[in-house]
């Protein structure tokens, strides 16, 4: 069918980082240059992925390439049928876009780290960890089934654990790594439960096979409730990995890891895995599940944005901003804006990785100072870092001509349209508020870091622009944050190739009345997209059906009407946010400290991150420990007490029977001995030794015997 060996290439791309990991780990201590090997391998993977993405998107944009093999075969008997677990790969447009994002950022982070990590005592080990992370992440990207998703999901968790705790000598770092792993596991528990429901009902993990069964009306436990529940449970994995409320608490702590790691894992790729998962399971999500997802997304975009307003650690601001932006993506998927959700994942990956690497460049220049109160005026010292940071900040704030504007505007417009269609306007309201706050805190960060007078003269004095290996990735990512890569029209993403040709919303497979009403295609309608699709179907009958546009004309129209109001509104709030930031921190017309004082409770609430950590520590960590201590006491005192108690009882019983034995049983024996002794003493009297006595006794005996015989005998 196709000339390009996609699957073999995909396998090579997948395995390359694993090879890099093993060799760098094994020989890293002996050979100092192993990091170059690892970097080379990732660059090769990037080259292959660019080739693959290009070929796929240009020539096979409408095809889905799947390959699978049996992993665990539990045999096929008459009684049970065939029971097997398949592994497999799937390559569609979403795959190759994600693949490109992961490989590109991974490569840039490798290059950046060569300078950034210089002098670290575990230098090569760091690179090997980057290798295993890339491998695990690519596994998630390529998978065509839920099981492999889960497997690589956990491996990603492991690599994140290793990288957050890379400087494990610091207690805060090892605490953070453990917290990340455990909090993620809480989400994974839900995901696992979802997978169990999935497999129990469909006997397969493969997405497409599950979708096919659902579209034929096969529901888990025959109920729509369980379909919704299954979707939400699977989504729980995303809540963990993408640091969504209420499991978002691990991500800010994860900033203990090296900054390039934060760029790769905790901004661009791993945390996006949750969104990617949601994209993959999108067709099976019911309206209720989507509403739940949208709610989680909205909360997760709102709360962290309020926290980011007051943080003083450059990485913490970016971390909360990441959660907030991930919340955007999740909310987008929840309101049915599949394409915009994924599109924002891509654009955000570039500019947020850029922001983190930029902050890495600043931290590097300031000798590991992360507090923005110690910075200021760095613009002159770090011109390239500053320029790129500005571009990224504009992008995340959603200013036209940037990529961020395209995707963010799309999400806001979708939320706006969603509000008009369903009446849930809260998502749009929250979305615009978040946009306002985002613009504000990003420019607060930018101004405090780069503008004004240096607040720490000594550190400022030593600061210098980072070497080319570190600035080059920044420049590249800044270029990718420009609209021209996604569309020709800087004001509308819809006409661009990414959304028009590549990202097509898959058909929902849930029963029609369980969907959002606007996702139900009315039968007499024939929107443009569907007509086009039918033509395509005429040419290629079978393989296409999943590319159907699910949204009705009603929705297309609503989106169309939402486009301009949403755009103006989002521009207005972004501008307002930036303006406020300038008033407060650049021109200093309003004293930020005084303002903080005037709303002190609110300020403290935000500064202390809504006290989530304190609450969780109190409720879960201490609660569990308390329970554990109680159970440990219970175990050694009660459960084991019964065992030891029965031993004691047995021993006392045996002592008792010992006494019985000594005094009663043996006593009887001794008594009889004593008695016979006494008897002996008595009878001894008769043993006189005199013959006369004996004769008398014999005669008496004979008489007595005769008497007895005569009377009773015969």
């Amino acid at each position: 069918m196709n000339q390009i060996p996609f699957i073999p290439i995909a396998l090579i791309i997948l395995v390359l980082p694993l090879i890099g990991f093993f060799f760098t780990l094994l020989f890293g201590k002996k050979i100092k240059q192993m990091y170059l090997f690892e970097t080379g391998i990732i660059t090769t993977a990037l080259g292959l992925s660019i080739y693959m993405a290009f070929m796929k998107l240009m020539y096979y944009a409408n095809e889905k390439i799947v390959s699978e093999l049996t992993w665990i075969d539990l045999g096929s008997t008459k009684a049970f049928g065939k029971i097997s677990v398949d592994l497999g790969m799937m390559i569609d447009n979403v795959t190759v876009l994600m693949l490109f994002v992961v490989c590109l950022i991974s490569t840039l982070v490798h290059l950046f780290s060569i300078e950034y990590m210089k002098g670290d005592k575990r230098y090569n080990r760091y690179f090997s960890y980057l290798g295993i992370f890339t491998f695990s992440m690519l596994g998630i990207v390529f998978t065509h089934n839920m099981l492999m998703m889960y497997i690589f999901w956990e491996l990603v968790g492991l690599s994140s654990y290793l990288l957050i705790g890379f400087w494990f000598e610091k207690k805060s770092a090892s605490d953070a790594s453990k917290k990340a792993f455990v909090v993620n596991r809480v989400g994974d528990f839900g995901m696992l439960a979802g997978i169990l429901i999935l497999f129990a009902n469909y006997h397969t993990f493969t997405f497409d096979k599950v979708f096919a069964q659902i579209s034929q009306g096969v529901l888990p436990f025959n109920s729509e409730f369980w379909l919704t529940a299954m979707g939400i449970l699977l989504f729980c994995g995303a809540i963990g990995k993408s640091a969504q409320f209420p499991l978002h608490v691990w991500l800010p702590d994860a900033m203990e890891g090296p900054t390039p790691v934060s760029a790769l894992i905790h901004a661009a790729t791993m945390v996006a895995a949750g969104v990617y998962l949601t994209v993959r399971i999108f067709p099976l999500l019911t309206g209720d599940a989507l509403l739940f997802i949208a709610t989680i997304g909205a909360i997760s975009s709102f709360i962290p944005a309020t926290i980011a307003l007051t943080q003083n650690d450059i990485k913490k601001v970016l971390a909360y901003s990441t959660i907030s932006q991930l919340g955007y993506m999740v909310m987008a998927l929840g309101v049915g804006a599949y394409a915009y959700g994924f599109f924002h994942l891509v654009t955000h990956a570039f500019f947020k990785a850029g922001l983190f690497l930029g902050s890495g460049s600043v931290i590097h220049a300031m000798h590991h100072e992360q507090d923005i109160r110690q910075m200021g005026g760095l613009k002159k010292k770090l011109p390239i870092t500053y320029t790129t940071f500005l571009i990224f900040s504009l992008a995340i704030s959603g200013i036209p001509l940037t990529s961020g504007f395209l995707s963010k505007d799309g999400i806001l417009a979708s939320a706006y349209a969603f509000g008009n269609l369903t009446g849930y306007k809260i998502f749009a309201i929250s979305g615009f508020l978040v946009a306002l706050m985002t613009a504000f805190y990003m420019f607060r960060l930018l101004i405090l870091t780069f503008h004004g007078e240096p607040r720490n003269e000594e550190k400022y004095h030593h600061a210098h622009e980072s070497p080319a290996l570190m600035t080059m990735p920044l420049v590249l990512l800044a270029i990718l944050s420009i609209f021209a890569f996604y569309t020709i029209n800087p004001l509308s993403a819809q006409t661009g190739w990414v959304l028009k040709d590549w990202l097509k919303t898959p058909a929902s497979v849930v029963p029609e009345h369980a969907r959002y009403s606007f996702m139900v295609q009315k039968h007499d309608e024939k929107p443009e997209a569907a007509v086009k699709h039918e033509e395509a179907v005429a040419e290629k009958p079978a393989a296409e059906s999943e590319h159907t546009i699910i949204h009705s004309e009603e929705y297309t129209e609503a989106l169309h009407h939402a486009h301009y109001p949403a755009m103006f509104l989002s521009l207005a709030v972004a501008g307002l946010g930036i303006l406020f930031a300038f008033i407060m921190y650049f021109w200093r017309k309003i004293n930020a400290d005084k303002l903080a004082d005037s709303v002190k409770p609110l300020y403290k609430f935000s500064l202390n991150k809504w006290y989530f950590d304190e609450f969780y520590d109190f409720a879960f960590v201490n609660g569990t420990l308390l329970l554990s201590r109680f159970l440990a006491w219970f175990d050694s005192t009660i459960v084991d007490g019964i065992v030891n108690g029965s031993a004691v009882v047995t021993r006392q019983l045996s002592k008792l029977s010992g006494l019985f034995d000594t005094y009663v049983v043996d006593g009887l024996v001794n008594l009889s001995a004593t008695l016979s002794g006494l008897l002996g003493i008595f009878t001894r009297k008769f043993q006189t030794g005199k013959v006369q006595t004996y004769i008398i006794m014999v005669v008496f005996s004979l008489v007595a015997l005769l008497f007895i015989l005569m009377n009773y005998g015969i």
Binding site: W71, I72, F168, K178, R185, F189, L192, L196, A200, S628
Partner: protein
């Protein structure tokens, strides 16, 4: 009957070795150690040979050997192996070899006696797994207690006497219940078919016909005996004591093989002999298993002694196995069997690693350590991988077992309640907590005290032993089919026959 002596050779090789060992001079400890390892290695190769002759596609006992023993009662020395036996035999011979090798430095006194008991113990364990005769099984089951009793009692820690007696009496008490049930079953069989038989295959046909009111008690007698051995909550308290007091070798064998005898018994006797009762009690037993999973993990969390922590983690892991067994689906039972192997490998490796550091510092208190990662990097890496395997990280062995068990239990027609699986699944969170927490406190952070700076990293011997275990930990994690093939047919037979008896459509 096929004439194949390989299983007999495997069973008696360590016995012959133990007898020959008696002729070696006591002082030549190096020679004795080498001899012990040599014998166990030969046994391992013999078991590999047995595996190669074993036809995994057949469900019945193979490589059988039968000698009449008590002809009056038709009791015979009858051995054979089906898939379940085979995989347990392989695990036993493999672990025994590694344990003897581990003991090279761990056991300092009475080397000859130690090696002798270890080899005798191996005979006992192998005997349990290959007996096709119920009485023969019981003989081995009991006989194996004695060498273990001495291993804990002589080479153990400070409270070894208490621990060894507790171990001995607790298991013995359970065994007696089983003995009564065995005799009852034997007499019932005689009344039923008018012929004495203690052959398992014959009893399989008779057991299900026993009236339920009586069968129930027989099932409980067998199952409690096995549950103590497993150990199933709340019969588990002998385990932490035994583990903590036992020498490393004892702990490895205890966790690796002895506990598996309990779950083996459930699969071999409790379920196929008394299917109706197994069905009746399955929810209750599964409840205990699930409690054990959560309870074991929570109690493990606050332990201060590393060995005790690992011991309680065993309670949790074995809970998974029992859940899988009583869920009675192909996935869950296969998962349970592979989890038996997994637990042997992972927990064995954990005990070896804990033992290795104990030999250096003479303390197992978690608080005594901290920040050893830069001092002993190889050790720390090994400990991490083994801990992750125990946590059930995909790509390593633990995941396969737990996942299959959960899937099977979720849709099990016997349990008929998905809550078991869901609650058990939450165990994955706690496992991560207690192991990673221990790992963090021991390995990460700043160096706790200056004494730790003198720690030596793993020796070549220790490294090789753990690496050998890791080979299988990864192998099972990536391609479990190699091992799951062995038991596939016998598992299918067990489930099919049991469910047919219960007339559960599946």
């Amino acid at each position: 009957m096929e004439q194949n002596l390989i299983l007999l050779y495997t069973l008696f090789a360590p016995l012959v070795g133990a007898m020959l060992l008696l002729f070696l001079p006591k002082e030549k400890e190096g020679l004795i150690r080498a001899f012990g390892i040599g014998v166990s290695l030969i046994t391992f190769f013999l078991s590999l040979a047995a595996w190669s002759m074993f036809d995994a596609s057949k469900a019945e006992f193979q490589l059988q050997q039968q000698f009449l023993w008590l002809s009056r009662y038709n009791i015979s020395f009858h051995i054979g192996a089906d898939g379940l036996s085979m995989i347990m035999v392989l695990l036993t011979t493999f672990l025994t070899t590694l344990t003897l090798w581990t003991s090279w430095s761990g056991i300092a006194k009475k080397v000859k006696e130690f090696t002798f008991f270890m080899l005798i113990l191996e005979v006992g364990m192998l005997g349990v797994f290959v007996s096709v005769d119920l009485f023969l099984f019981y003989v081995f089951w009991e006989a194996m207690l004695i060498p273990m009793y001495f291993i804990i009692g002589i080479w153990g820690g400070e409270q070894r006497i208490y621990a060894s007696i507790k171990f001995f009496i607790y298991t013995m008490a359970g065994s007696l219940l089983m003995l009564v049930a065995i005799i009852w079953l034997f007499m019932y069989a005689y009344n039923d078919v008018h012929m004495y038989t203690s052959n398992i295959n014959d009893l399989y046909k008779i057991g299900p016909k026993i009236p339920f009111e009586i069968q129930k008690w027989l099932f409980l007698a067998f199952t409690i005996s096995f549950a103590i051995k497993v150990p199933l909550f709340p019969f588990h308290t002998w385990l932490p004591d035994a583990h903590v007091q036992a020498p490393t070798a004892g702990s490895v064998i205890l966790a690796g093989v002895l506990l598996k005898m309990g779950t083996y018994g459930l699969l071999r006797f409790s379920i196929p002999l008394f299917p109706q009762s197994a069905h009746y009690f399955a929810p209750a037993i599964s409840t205990l298993a699930v409690i054990g999973i959560i309870y074991g993990a929570l109690v493990a969390m606050v332990q201060t002694d590393m060995k005790k922590l690992v011991a309680y983690s065993s309670v949790a892991h074995l809970g998974f196995v029992v859940l899988g067994i009583f869920a009675l689906t192909p996935e869950s039972v296969q998962g349970a069997i592979i989890q038996m192997v997994n637990h042997g490998l992972s927990t064995g490796a954990l005990f070896i690693l804990v033992g290795a550091i104990y030999e250096r510092t003479h303390t197992r208190e978690i608080d005594a350590y901290g920040g050893i990662a830069p001092i002993v990097p190889v050790y720390s890496t090994l400990l991490l991988i083994v801990s992750l395997s125990s946590i059930g990280l995909p790509g390593l062995n633990g995941f396969i077992g737990e996942f299959l068990i959960l899937i099977g239990a979720f849709k099990s027609p016997v349990l008929n309640n998905w809550m078991f699986s869901i609650v058990a699944a939450s165990g994955v969170i706690f496992a991560a907590v207690y192991l990673l927490w221990m790992y963090q406190r021991v390995v990460f952070g700043p160096v706790k005290n200056e004494g730790l700076r003198a720690l030596k990293d793993v020796t070549a011997r220790e490294f090789t032993i753990v690496a050998l275990l890791l080979v299988f930990i990864v192998w099972i994690g990536v391609y479990p089919a190699t091992f799951m093939k062995i038991t596939e047919a016998s598992t299918a037979k067990l489930i099919k026959e049991t469910l047919t008896t219960l007339s559960i459509r599946y």
